[in-house]
């Protein structure tokens, strides 16, 4: 590994010399606010080299980054903490890349450090591409939709009560049934009472001179079959009552024939 170092070293320098271009550096007037951390800056800078990420010049990248931090740290030192740490590490890397490598069992070679940084940048780049792909997928509730009116509604308030059309109709029918029975009880038929009939008969019988058909005494004002029947029944009962009292005489000449009534004055 150690023996290869000079070669690798030169490779980096070559690369750097090929790619380094003052135009690129000048174009990069960067602000920390626009970035998601030092790796993001490094990735952006690396892309300005317009080569495959595997081919980037680490030395150039280091210089670009150090310049970027120099420009930025004046304004935003607090935010720049991450950037300063990265800058320090990159400065160390740069020195390792430029100076002849000390052999060490424990430490990574400068080449390996650079390769690792490249790997990190590639990884971030790849995950960004992946995240873009992921977010461009058809997303539920944005591009594709599930059933808008799910039927086994478990949480919806609307469905808290259960009632079938049958039960609703049954309820109305039951109500109607009960109501119709209640009507029979409540709606009493109007009647012509016995007292009313007696009063009427007593008043009218004195006026009539001779035998008179009982139903001649029907009041004019009655309406309806029910009421007529009630009046006839009451007048008939009243006539019997007056006959029992001895105040009237009744004659019926044939079955179902008309009833004749006349006053009977006992005092005569």
């Amino acid at each position: 590994m150690n023996t290869k170092e000079p070669e690798q070293q030169s490779a980096f320098e070559e690369q750097a010399s090929v790619i380094l271009s003052p135009d690129d550096e000048e174009r990069l007037i960067l602000d920390i606010d626009g970035f998601e951390g030092p790796l993001d800056v490094l990735l952006t800078l690396a892309r300005t080299q317009k080569v495959d990420l595997k081919q980037i010049s680490i030395l150039e990248l280091v210089q670009q980054f150090l310049k970027f931090v120099d420009d930025a740290k004046v304004q935003k030192l607090e935010k720049a903490a991450d950037y300063l740490v990265m800058a320090a590490w990159l400065a160390y890397l740069k020195s390792r890349l430029l100076l002849p490598e000390e052999t060490s069992e424990d430490e990574l070679s400068a080449e390996e450090m650079a390769a690792r940084l490249t790997h990190q940048l590639q990884r971030l780049s790849a995950i960004r591409d992946a995240s873009a792909t992921l977010m461009s997928r058809n997303q539920l509730k944005r591009d594709v939709f599930a059933r808008g009116m799910p039927e086994p509604v478990i949480v919806t308030k609307n469905a808290t009560y259960e009632l079938s059309l049958y039960e609703l109709l049954r309820g109305y029918a039951d109500h109607k049934t009960r109501k119709s029975i209640a009507d029979i009880r409540i709606h009493k038929r109007e009647v012509y009472t016995l007292d009313q009939a007696l009063e009427r008969l007593r008043g009218l019988i004195g006026i009539a001179v001779d035998w008179t058909d009982l139903f001649q005494f029907l009041p004019d004002s009655i309406e309806g079959d029910d009421m007529t029947r009630s009046v006839k029944a009451s007048l008939f009962t009243a006539s019997l009552e007056m006959a029992r009292e001895g105040k009237a005489e009744i004659v019926q000449k044939q079955t179902f024939g008309p009833l004749y009534i006349r006053k009977k004055d006992r005092s005569d």
Partner: protein, 201 residues
């Protein structure tokens, strides 16, 4: 655009909608001149024998589990609360007599309405205030909601069977028919002589 493509669009819109859609709303998403009624008829036809049917309720369209498979969904339904008999009767009276005031419901039922009943019916979103009577006190009138129609699968309140039909269906076996005819058989109506409540909805 081909008819099949238009049918696909109507199908997707109806599937994804959280409420029934009118044919007008559907037509808005289709190219001008699309025959939406024909598309809906075709789609209904295509789903006629499937596990899900396209149905028209309250003048709008929606997908619904085929009636013969409703038993599959009953598991969840069992947890639901049941309405009291008084609530069912009140709901029935409101649906047949609407628009109707609270006092009228009480008069028809012959008992006063306990406080919770109307609340329950409104919470179930079956009953809603419709307007106010133009009578002293301007009492609130109540009627049934679109949700009521959807729930009971009715296209209109006029689809509720009349008393004669109830009798024919055996619902009124114990009632003397001649007597029944003397009772008022209200014709469910949708007209609203009342003063409208804030049109909200």
């Amino acid at each position: 655009m081909e008819t099949m493509e238009q049918i696909r669009i109507v199908e997707a819109l109806l599937f994804a909608s959280d409420k029934p859609l009118s044919s007008i709303a559907l037509a808005d998403c289709l190219p001008e001149g699309a025959n939406i009624d024909q598309l809906l008829t075709d789609l209904r036809e295509q789903y006629a024998n499937r596990g899900v049917n396209l149905v028209e309720v309250a003048g709008k369209w929606m997908f619904q589990t085929a009636p013969d498979l409703a038993f599959l969904l009953r598991k969840e339904v069992e947890q639901e609360r049941r309405l009291s008999r008084a609530a069912v009767e009140t709901l029935a009276i409101i649906s047949y007599h609407q628009p109707v005031t609270r006092a009228e419901v009480e008069e028809v039922r012959g008992v006063s309405l306990s406080k919770g009943i109307l609340d329950v019916l409104m919470e179930a979103e079956w009953v809603r205030p419709i307007g106010r009577r133009r009578t002293p006190g301007r009492p609130m009138t109540y009627g049934t909601s679109d949700h009521f129609l959807v729930h009971f699968g009715l296209n209109s309140i006029k689809d509720l069977p009349g008393l004669a039909e109830l009798k024919a269906a055996g619902f009124l076996d114990n009632v003397n028919t001649s007597r029944l005819n003397l009772l008022d058989d209200p014709k469910p109506t949708e007209e609203q002589p009342e003063l409208p409540v804030s049109s909200g909805e």
